[in-house]
């Protein structure tokens, strides 16, 4: 069980996740926020104090650059090697409308992978 | 906080000559005062007999109908927007202007935002207490951004219907 900072990107409204640029593996970073499109690339806080730190970093960045809005923490857990939010609402935010699997985040990730190959 | 007065083109900054009498303070002997509706009701005779000007401040949940008889002696009515989304003062303003024939100063106070100036002008307000540092500049441009009006109000602007029919 861990926590991830989620937000919406101002320019297009897409869901983004926070990664601490300085130290993506966890631990105290130097406060350089990076917003990524895939939950898999997000930084997971293992405890509440790191979660609070990440949230503060995200909020400070949001206030400074004004390019992300609606910043908050969600709970995630690892399930067969994949991160998954514990609440239905957040899972739908992270992976896209379940009724249009061709349009959501998973499709986006697959397209990115295909383009990378 | 800036106080703006509408002019034919835009607005000018004016000095607020009224002192607002807070709830627990005594009414000053002289000078122009802005009082609550409760105080006006309690001290009606002495207030309306003053040589100096009297203004009344209405909360958004207070109807202006009780003022109708005294409007000849009141020189300022201030209508409050506790938040910009509380739109009761638009109705109060129109009633004061269009039903009770009030011709004195009608001031918008509280959460007065540039984007709502157009609606306030149409409803009959003529002075505006604004927090924005760019209030004058905003006043000069924003209310004129949409130039067509469909609804007849007391502001005398010709509506689309009147323009179509040439009336």
């Amino acid at each position: 069980m861990g926590q991830v900072v989620i937000a919406s990107r101002l320019s297009d409204g897409l869901v983004v996740f926070l990664r601490d640029k300085a130290d993506p593996s966890g631990g105290a970073g130097n406060g350089r926020a990076d917003w990524v499109l895939q939950l898999a690339d997000a930084e997971v806080a293992d405890d509440d104090s790191r979660a609070a730190e990440l949230l503060a970093l995200g909020e400070a960045d949001g206030a400074a650059i004004q390019s992300v809005v609606d910043i908050y923490l969600i709970e995630v857990e690892e399930e067969t090697g994949q991160l998954r939010p514990t609440k239905a609402r957040e899972a739908i935010r992270c992976f896209g409308p379940t009724v249009r699997p061709d349009l959501g985040k998973l499709a986006l990730a697959e397209r990115a992978l295909a383009a990378g190959n | 906080m800036a106080l703006l007065e509408k002019r034919d083109s835009g607005a000018v900054l004016i000095v607020d000559r009224y002192s607002k009498v807070e709830e627990d303070a005594a009414t000053p002997e002289s000078g122009d005062v802005l009082v609550s509706l409760e105080r006006l009701e309690a001290e009606r005779e002495s207030l309306l007999a003053r040589a100096d000007s009297v203004g009344v401040w209405l909360r958004s949940d207070q109807s202006p109908s009780g003022l109708a008889d005294d409007l000849g002696k009141i020189e300022l009515v201030a209508l409050d927007f506790p938040v910009f989304s509380d739109g009761r003062a638009y109705s109060s303003a129109r009633l004061l202007r269009e039903r009770y024939g009030y011709r004195g100063e009608l001031r918008a106070v509280g959460d007065v935002l540039a984007e709502q100036l157009g609606f306030m002008l149409r409803s009959g307000f003529d002075t505006f207490e604004m927090a924005s540092p760019n209030a004058l500049e905003e006043f000069a441009t924003i209310p004129k951004e949409v130039r067509v009006v469909y609804q007849p109000t007391g502001d005398g602007l010709a509506t689309a219907t009147e323009l179509r029919l040439g009336t």
Binding site: S8, L10, S11, D12, G13, L14, V15, Q66, V69, D70, T86, K87, A88, R89, I92, R93, G96, P97, T98, V99, R100, L103, G104, K105 | S63, F84, S85, D86, G87, R88, Y90, S91, S92, R94, R99, L113, E115, Q116, G118, F119, M120, R122, S123, E145, V146, R147, V148, V149, Y150, Q151, P152, T153, T159, A160, T161, E162, L163, R164, L165, T167
Partner: protein, 557 residues
């Protein structure tokens, strides 16, 4: 249909320029999100679960082919190739970019459309009968009055910050296809009776106030049995002013006019409105006849050809093609002109989201409208499309064209013609998903023979208590709720939004997502078993009550 004149065009253009400036100020950081949110909402732009959502107004559900093609183009160019038709006859785009919305609004303005007042605590898009101007049972085309209300309510200086959103619906027929009793104001066109309620033969409005769904559903109450046409705007202004001053602002769940009416009492509310109206009845709100005539002239019916009422081509095809016969029986409605028909195009195909249409489908429907229906299209509050004026003899070819595009589902008014909000798949307010429930039901009841056997039936699904999917007025209503982070569904029975309007009653404890479709099937089985004659589901339910349904589902006597 109505076409903008120079004034209407100027207003919408000004509004686009104004929003462009507001977006620029937001993107440059000049406006904060807090300051910008109310401004974008006033142009129908929401921030939803995955992206922005732009709600485009389709005034009283009427479109011409040029407008529908533009909607298709916008979906393709600025979105992901589809749009969602809503229960308020509007269209929602699910993926617009903030930086491109001013361009989208400019594209809309080119075809006399906009997104003004599709959100916010103001007077929303006025809805109407989707068969207006074509229905055989119509007294008068209600869209004339919808357009008059549209103009009056657009950027109304006094009523842009009401206690809560405000919805008006107008029907021109006694058969209420506009759900007027569940609107803040519902207007029914009717003839005066010559005995106090209008001159005999004069056409006016019955005024109903205070209906609404949501957390506390109410059916509206008649506060004036007859209102003359010329007094429409002064009377509306009196209602709105009374509500603006009186409506609660301390609790958003008690702020709709239905609660004002309930707390004040309908009689007292009516008295206050009449008192206010007496003051403004003779003001410049009184509609000048030339303006009424000008707007009415936009709604003169097209020139229908003189045709035989029966069409051989249609009858021959129906005799040999049961699928076509089902489509005619379910999707085709009688037209006021002899030899013509109203053709419903179902946006409820088996297994797909209700109300969605792709750009290709929208383009096709626009072409078909040009070829078969004088270029006119309607959007229904049940989230389907309509070609209002089709020659009966051409129905077979129209059917073939629709069939090829997956648009010939023959289920209008039937069980799988489900009203459904976007739910938790898109909406930030939702508690549970609604579209997957709807697609499961349509898959379970995919067989046309079974659908036809079950007959007229309304299932309505909302993903939260706000009731955008009208679950309170479904014969079967399904409400999604959040139970400790998991989706859960309550079922209610016996609602109706038509002239026999009623609110449904909760059946009992709720169900998980994978149980709902089985429960629906059980409910349908009980009805089929108990129905007498040509009773619809709702008729049987009203006759036998909830007990047999409860017993089947919960196994309790």
């Amino acid at each position: 249909m109505y076409h903008y004149d120079e004034y209407d065009h100027a207003l919408v253009k000004d509004r686009v320029a104004q929003f462009r400036r507001q977006v620029e100020r937001r993107l440059s950081g000049d406006l904060t999100e807090e300051q910008f949110r109310p401004l974008r909402l006033m142009n129908g732009l929401y921030l939803q679960l995955h992206a922005y959502m732009l709600r485009v107004a389709i005034p009283y559900g009427t479109l011409d082919s040029r407008q529908l093609r533009k909607l298709a183009y916008i979906a393709r160019r600025y979105d992901k190739g589809y749009g969602h038709f809503t229960t308020r006859q509007n269209l929602q785009y699910n993926w617009p970019k903030l930086e491109e919305t001013p361009d989208i609004l400019a594209e809309l303005a080119e075809v006399e459309m906009h997104a003004i007042q599709t959100s916010g605590n103001c007077i929303r898009n006025t809805t109407s009968d989707q068969y207006a101007g074509a229905a055989a049972d119509e007294i008068e085309d209600p869209r004339i009055w919808c357009e008059i209300v549209r103009q009056w309510s657009t950027l109304h200086p006094e009523f842009s910050f009401l206690p809560r959103k405000f919805k008006v619906a107008i029907t021109g027929s006694e058969n209420d296809r506009a759900a007027v009793r569940v609107h803040d104001i519902g207007l029914i066109m009717k003839h005066g009776d010559g005995e106090g309620a209008g001159e005999a033969g004069e056409v006016g409005f019955e005024v109903i106030v205070g209906g609404g769904l949501g957390r506390t559903p109410f059916l509206g109450k008649t506060i004036r049995p007859f209102l003359a046409k010329e007094d429409l705007l002064s009377y509306l202004e009196a209602i709105l002013r009374t509500y603006n001053m009186l409506g609660r602002r301390d609790n958003k769940y008690k702020a709709r006019i239905k609660v004002t009416l309930h707390e004040t009492g309908a009689e007292e509310f009516a008295r206050l409105v009449e008192e206010e109206w007496a003051e403004i009845k003779e003001s410049s709100l009184k509609l000048p006849k030339p303006e009424m005539d000008r707007i009415a002239a936009h709604f003169v019916p097209p020139e229908f050809r003189a045709l035989e009422s029966r069409a051989t081509a249609e009858e021959e095809r129906a005799a040999g093609d049961p699928a076509f016969a089902s489509w005619v029986r379910n999707n085709i409605v009688e037209h006021k002109a002899s030899g013509y028909a109203i053709a419903n195009i179902s946006l409820k195909p088996v297994g797909l989201p209700p109300g969605d249409a792709t750009s290709e489908q929208m383009d096709l429907v626009a072409d078909l409208a040009d070829e078969y229906s004088f270029g006119e299209i309607r959007v229904t509050h049940t989230q389907n499309l309509v070609l209002p004026h089709v020659e009966r003899s051409r129905l077979p070819e129209l059917y073939d064209r629709l069939l090829a595009a997956g648009l010939a589902t023959a289920n209008v008014g039937l069980l799988s013609d489900i009203i459904c909000c976007p739910g938790l798949d898109y909406c930030t307010l939702a508690s549970a998903r609604s579209i997957p429930i709807s697609t499961q039901i349509s898959e379970r009841f995919a067989d046309q023979g079974r659908l036809d056997l079950v007959g007229q039936m309304q299932i309505k699904i909302s993903g939260c208590i706000n009731a955008c999917g009208h679950h309170h007025v479904g014969h079967i209503g399904i409400l999604g709720v959040d139970r400790k982070g998991e989706e859960h569904y309550q079922i209610q029975l016996g609602g109706s939004a038509s002239e026999d309007a009623s609110l449904g009653k909760i059946l009992g404890r709720g169900f998980s997502a994978d149980q709902v479709v089985d429960v629906v099937e059980q409910l349908v089985d009980v009805y089929v078993e108990l129905r007498e004659g040509d009773e619809r589901f709702i008729d049987t339910y009203r006759r036998v009550g909830q007990a047999p349904f409860k017993e089947k589902v919960y196994g309790t006597a």
